[in-house]
C-alpha cells in the first residue's frame, strides 16, 4: 500500500506527541513522506491529546481523511474516536491492565488488545515507557521503519546514557514481540519502505518554517507576545536571531510588539511580529500607522478559533476579514496565506520582500494546524532565495537639495526612497498624521487624496510580484474550486480524486489573498461552469471577498467545527454541487 494514517490518542503528558514525532522521523528516514497533525488541550497537563501521522510513498497533500489505524491509550481517547472506527479500520488499545476496562469488539473493525501500561509497569518497571511499547507494536504490525526507529532511539537517548537507551529499546521490542506472539495479523495495512532515492529531506513544523523563512529573508528584529498557537515562531527565533546579530524581545502586549516593530523598521531593521487573532485585533491601530507612515513590516497571524479566546488550540481560518479589512480609515496592506510547511518558508521570504519593496505592512496568515504540524520536505537551500531590500535615500539622490528631502515624494511607482536616522540630510518626521510629500502635517483635500492614492496605487503591481496562482487541471470544467490557506492542500487531494473518477473539476490555488490576482481568478472562473469556495470559517469570508472583488458567483462551502477539512468532505461536496 502507498498511504496509511495512524492516529494515537490519550492523556496529555503521556508522551504521545514525542512518540509520534519519533515514528514520523523514523519513517522519513526509511524513505517515506510524512505529515503529522496534532491536537491538544488548552490545559498544560491532562485532557485529551491526539497525534496523527500520515505515511505515504507519494507526495502528501493534506492530513487526509480519518485514519486506518487508531491507537487508544485510554478510555476517553477510545470514546472520542469510537464513531470513526468504521469497518475496515484497526484499533490497537491498552488492554488489559490499563485504563480501558473491557475488551473491545466492533463489527468489521480489527481490534488488537495490547497491554501497554501493564508491560511498561510490570515487565519494564517504567510506566513512562508506555508510549515506546505502543510504538514498537505499531511499527512492527504495520511495517513502519522498525529498524530506523531503533537507530533513532539510540541517537536521541544516547546523551542520557546507555540505561535509557536500553529501556526504550526493550520497550519497543516488548511491544513488537507482544503483537508477534499474541495476534495473528488480519488487517491489510503494511507500509514497507521505499528505496532511497537520494532525496535530501528535512522535517519541520509550520511555525518553525515561518521562523526559518524569516531568517532567510534577513529578518533581524522580532517583538512578540506569547499566544497559542503562534508562540513557537518566537520560541524558534529566540534561539537563532541572536546568533545572527538580531534582536528578539517579548513585549508587554501585542500593541507594544507591533509598536516595537515599527520603531525598529523605521530605524532600518527588517522587523516582524508573530501572533494569533486576538493579538492581531490589538494591533489594528498600529497597522493603520504602518500604512500611513509607509513602514515595512511583517505580521504573521497563526489563526485559531474565535472570536474572543474562542478555541485557542483548534483550527480555523476566520481572521481573513480582519486581515484584509481590519483597522480604521482606508489602510492599505498586503495579505498572503500559506498552504503548507514549504509554503510557510517561501511566503515568509516573499512577505519580507513585499514589505521592503513596497514599504507596506504585510500579513502572512497560517493557522494552528499548519503551525503545529510537521512535514517531510525537500531541504531548502538558503542561497537560492532572492532577498529584496528597501529603496534607500541618498543625499541629493532624488535630485533634491539635501535639506529638501521628501520622504513621501510622489513617484511613478508610488514608492519613495526611505532615509534612516543617521543619514545626513534625510531627517523627517515619520507620521500617522496625513502629510505632504515632506512629511509635514497637511489636511488639505489635495494631499489626503493624493497620499491615499499613493498608498494604494503603489501596491498595484504586487499581484505580479507574487507568482500567479497555480491552476490544477485543464480545459473547461463543470466545477472550479478556489480556496486559500491550508485548505488548498486538501482541495488538491480532493480534486485529484474527483478527476481520477472522471469528473470535470479543476482548482485554483491563490497565495495572495489581498489584493486579489483578479485577472487570473476571472480567467480561471471563465473556464468553469460553477465555482466552489471551501474554507474553515462561519461566514464564508473568502467567498465574499471573491464575489465582491471579481464578481465570480462563488458557492460558499464553510465549515466551522474547529477541525480542518478532509479530502472526503470536499469530494462529497464537489459531487453534490455537480448533481
Amino acid at each position: 500500500m502507498s498511504d496509511l494514517i495512524i492516529r494515537i490518542g490519550g492523556e496529555g503528558g503521556e508522551g504521545i506527541i514525542s512518540a509520534g514525532d519519533m515514528v514520523a522521523e523514523a519513517a522519513a528516514r526509511s524513505g517515506l513522506e510524512i505529515l503529522t497533525f496534532k491536537s491538544f488541550p488548552a490545559e498544560i497537563r491532562g485532557g485529551y491529546a491526539m497525534y496523527q501521522v500520515r505515511f505515504s510513498k507519494d507526495e502528501i497533500l493534506s492530513e487526509g481523511t480519518g485514519f486506518q489505524v487508531f491507537c487508544a491509550f485510554n478510555q476517553e481517547a477510545l470514546d472520542k474516536n469510537r464513531s470513526q472506527l468504521v469497518p475496515g479500520t484497526v484499533l490497537v488499545y491498552d488492554y488489559p491492565g490499563g485504563d480501558i476496562a473491557e475488551e473491545v469488539k466492533i463489527e468489521g473493525v480489527t481490534c488488537y488488545a495490547l497491554p501497554m501500561s501493564k508491560i511498561a509497569k510490570k515487565d519494564l518497571d517504567m510506566y513512562r515507557a508506555k508510549n515506546m511499547v505502543a510504538l514498537g507494536a505499531l511499527s512492527f504490525t504495520f511495517d513502519i521503519a522498525l529498524e530506523s526507529l531503533k537507530e533513532l532511539v539510540k541517537e536521541k537517548f544516547g546523551r542520557k546514557g546507555q540505561a535509557v537507551v536500553d529501556v526504550n529499546l526493550k520497550a519497543i521490542d516488548a511491544g513488537a514481540h507482544f503483537m508477534r506472539d499474541n495476534h495473528k495479523k488480519t488487517d491489510p495495512y503494511k507500509m514497507g519502505s521505499v528505496a532511497k532515492t537520494g532525496k535530501d529531506v528535512i522535517i519541520i513544523s509550520g511555525n518553525e518554517a515561518v521562523g526559518l523563512g524569516a531568517l532567510i529573508a534577513g529578518c533581524n528584529f522580532l517583538s512578540c507576545y506569547p499566544i497559542t498557537p503562534a508562540t513557537e515562531v518566537a520560541n524558534y527565533l529566540a534561539v537563532r536571531l541572536p546568533k545572527m546579530d538580531g534582536t528578539l524581545v517579548q513585549a508587554e502586549d501585542e500593541i507594544a510588539s507591533l509598536a516595537n516593530v515599527l520603531g525598529a523598521s523605521y530605524a532600518g531593521a527588517k522587523a516582524m511580529t508573530s501572533t494569533s487573532g486576538p493579538g492581531l485585533s490589538l494591533m489594528q491601530e498600529l497597522l493603520g500607522l504602518a500604512s500611513m507612515a509607509e513602514i515595512p513590516c511583517v505580521i504573521v497571524d497563526v489563526q485559531r478559533g474565535g472570536p474572543s479566546t474562542g478555541l485557542p488550540t483548534k483550527h480555523e481560518q476566520s481572521d481573513l476579514f480582519m486581515a484584509c479589512h481590519g483597522g480604521h480609515g482606508d489602510a492599505s496592506r498586503v495579505v498572503l496565506s500559506a498552504e503548507n510547511v514549504s509554503d510557510a518558508i517561501e511566503l515568509t521570504v516573499i512577505a519580507f520582500n513585499i514589505a521592503e519593496k513596497y514599504q507596506t505592512p504585510v500579513l502572512l496568515l497560517t493557522d494552528g494546524s499548519l503551525g503545529f504540524r510537521t512535514e517531510s520536505i525537500k531541504r531548502p537551500d538558503p542561497r537560492k532565495y532572492s532577498v529584496v531590500n528597501r529603496d534607500r535615500f541618498k543625499a541629493g539622490g532624488n535630485g533634491d537639495a539635501p535639506s529638501k528631502y521628501l520622504r513621501y515624494k510622489l513617484t511613478a511607482s508610488g514608492v519613495s526612497a526611505m532615509s534612516l536616522p543617521g543619514d545626513a540630510g534625510g531627517a523627517y518626521i515619520s507620521t500617522g498624521l496625513e502629510h505632504s510629500e515632506s512629511s509635514a502635517p497637511s489636511f488639505t483635500p489635495e494631499d489626503h487624496a493624493r497620499m491615499s492614492d499613493k498608498r494604494f496605487n503603489k501596491l498595484a503591481s504586487v499581484v505580479d510580484f507574487v507568482p500567479p496562482p497555480e491552476v490544477q487541471g485543464d480545459g473547461p470544467a463543470d466545477l472550479g474550486v478556489i480556496s486559500w490557506g491550508s485548505t488548498l492542500g486538501t482541495v488538491r487531494e480532493a480534486v485529484n480524486q474527483a478527476r481520477a473518477q472522471g469528473l470535470k473539476v479543476k482548482a485554483l490555488h491563490p497565495k495572495l489573498v489581498w489584493p486579489l490576482q483578479e485577472k487570473q481568478i476571472k480567467a480561471f472562473a471563465s473556464t468553469c461552469k460553477k465555482i466552489l469556495v471551501p474554507e474553515v470559517n462561519k461566514q464564508g469570508q473568502f467567498a465574499e471577498i471573491l464575489r465582491g472583488k471579481t464578481g465570480v458567483d462563488a458557492i460558499s462551502y464553510p465549515i466551522y467545527g474547529g477541525l480542518p477539512f478532509s479530502p472526503k468532505q470536499i469530494l462529497e461536496k464537489i459531487k453534490e454541487v455537480l448533481k
Binding site: 533581524n220 520603531g263 531593521a269 534612516l420 500617522g432
Partner: protein
C-alpha cells in the same frame, strides 16, 4: 550619544514648521529648553530621534530638525524602544503628555522602566486633555470640573507620575517647570546623559482649559530639592515624590542609579547565543535534517 561636529546653536534645532500651540502654552518653554539642551550636548541633527504619541505636547518633534516619529496615542514608548533596540547608537527622546503617557499609554511605562530601556522620556504635565478641548486626565485634581465631568470628576485619586516612575524602576527620575527653561534645560541634559531609562516630569500649564494648574499657581510653588537629598536612595526619592512641602513643588533630580540597560543585556544575550553551536543559515537548516 553622538555629538555633532559642527557647532549648532539652539535655534539651529528648530524646524520651519510653526507650533500649533495656543499663545502662552507651557510647551513653548519646553521646546526652548530642549533646543538649549540639545545644543549644550552638541547632539547631531541626524543621530537624534524625537518620538511622540498624540496630544498637544506630542506635536513637539515637528518643531525640531532632528529625525522624528509622531506615532499613535499612547504608543510613543514602545516605538522609541524599537528604534533604540534596532540602532543603539541613536539618541532617542520621547515627548508626551499626561493623558498619552499615563492613561492610554500607561501600560507601557512600567515595562519600559523596569527593563531600563535606554530612552529619555520628557512628560509635559498639564493635568488636562488639551487637544480634545478639556477633559480630566490621570493627573487632574480629583473632582475637577471639565467637559465630560460637568458635576466634578468622580475620581478620588490621581496618578503621581514621579512615584509611578520610581516604583516601576526608572533609573533616573526628575521634575522641573516649563516656566523655568534654564533649570529645565539642565535637567533635560542630565536625563539625556543618563544611561538607562530617564524620566523628566515637566509641569507645563495649559492656559486654555485648565484653570486650576495655572502659571500663577506654579510660579512661586517651585523649590529646589533640599541640598542633602540623597538621590541614590529610592525610599528617600519616593518620600520626596509623595511629600513635597505644603503648597510647593520640587525641582530637581529625585533619583539616579546605574543598572545595566536593555541594550547592554541584549548584547550579552547575543554573546551567549553565539557561544552555542549552529551559527549560520545552513546550520539552521541542518538542525531539521533527519
Amino acid at each position: 550619544m553622538t555629538a555633532t561636529a559642527e557647532v549648532l546653536k539652539p535655534k539651529d534645532y528648530k524646524s520651519d514648521i510653526r507650533p500649533v500651540w495656543c499663545a502662552g502654552c507651557g510647551d513653548y518653554g519646553v521646546l526652548n529648553a530642549v533646543q538649549n539642551a540639545f545644543a549644550a550636548l552638541k547632539l547631531s541633527l541626524y543621530d537624534t530621534v524625537c518620538v511622540s504619541g498624540i496630544g498637544c505636547s506630542s506635536r513637539l518633534p515637528y518643531f525640531l530638525k532632528t529625525y522624528g516619529f509622531h506615532s499613535l496615542h499612547g504608543r510613543s514608548l514602545p516605538v522609541a524602544v524599537g528604534i533604540k533596540l534596532a540602532r543603539p547608537e541613536l539618541e532617542v527622546v520621547v515627548f508626551g503628555g499626561d493623558g498619552d503617557l499615563f492613561s492610554i499609554g500607561g501600560g507601557h511605562f512600567p515595562h519600559v522602566a523596569r527593563k531600563n530601556s535606554d530612552v529619555t522620556c520628557i512628560m509635559m504635565d498639564n493635568h488636562i486633555y488639551g487637544l480634545t478641548k478639556g477633559q480630566v486626565s490621570p493627573t487632574s485634581t480629583p473632582g475637577m470640573v471639565a467637559t465630560t465631568t460637568p458635576f466634578g470628576a468622580p475620581d478620588t485619586g490621581s496618578v503621581n507620575p514621579l512615584a509611578y516612575a520610581l516604583t516601576y524602576g526608572a533609573s533616573f527620575v526628575a521634575q522641573s517647570f516649563s516656566g523655568n527653561p534654564k533649570a529645565l534645560s539642565e535637567i533635560v541634559q542630565q536625563a539625556i546623559m543618563h544611561e538607562g531609562f530617564s524620566y523628566v516630569n515637566v509641569i507645563s500649564p495649559c492656559l486654555t482649559f485648565n484653570k486650576i494648574d495655572t502659571f500663577d499657581f506654579y510660579k512661586d510653588a517651585f523649590v529646589d530639592l533640599p541640598a542633602d537629598h540623597d538621590k541614590s536612595n529610592l525610599v528617600a526619592a519616593l518620600d520626596k515624590a509623595f511629600n513635597p512641602p505644603a503648597g510647593k513643588v520640587y525641582n530637581g533630580v529625585f533619583y539616579e542609579t546605574q543598572r545595566p540597560t536593555l541594550v547592554e543585556n541584549l548584547k550579552k544575550v547575543n554573546q551567549k547565543a553565539k557561544a552555542d553551536k549552529n551559527r549560520d543559515l545552513n546550520e539552521f537548516v541542518e538542525e531539521f535534517a533527519i
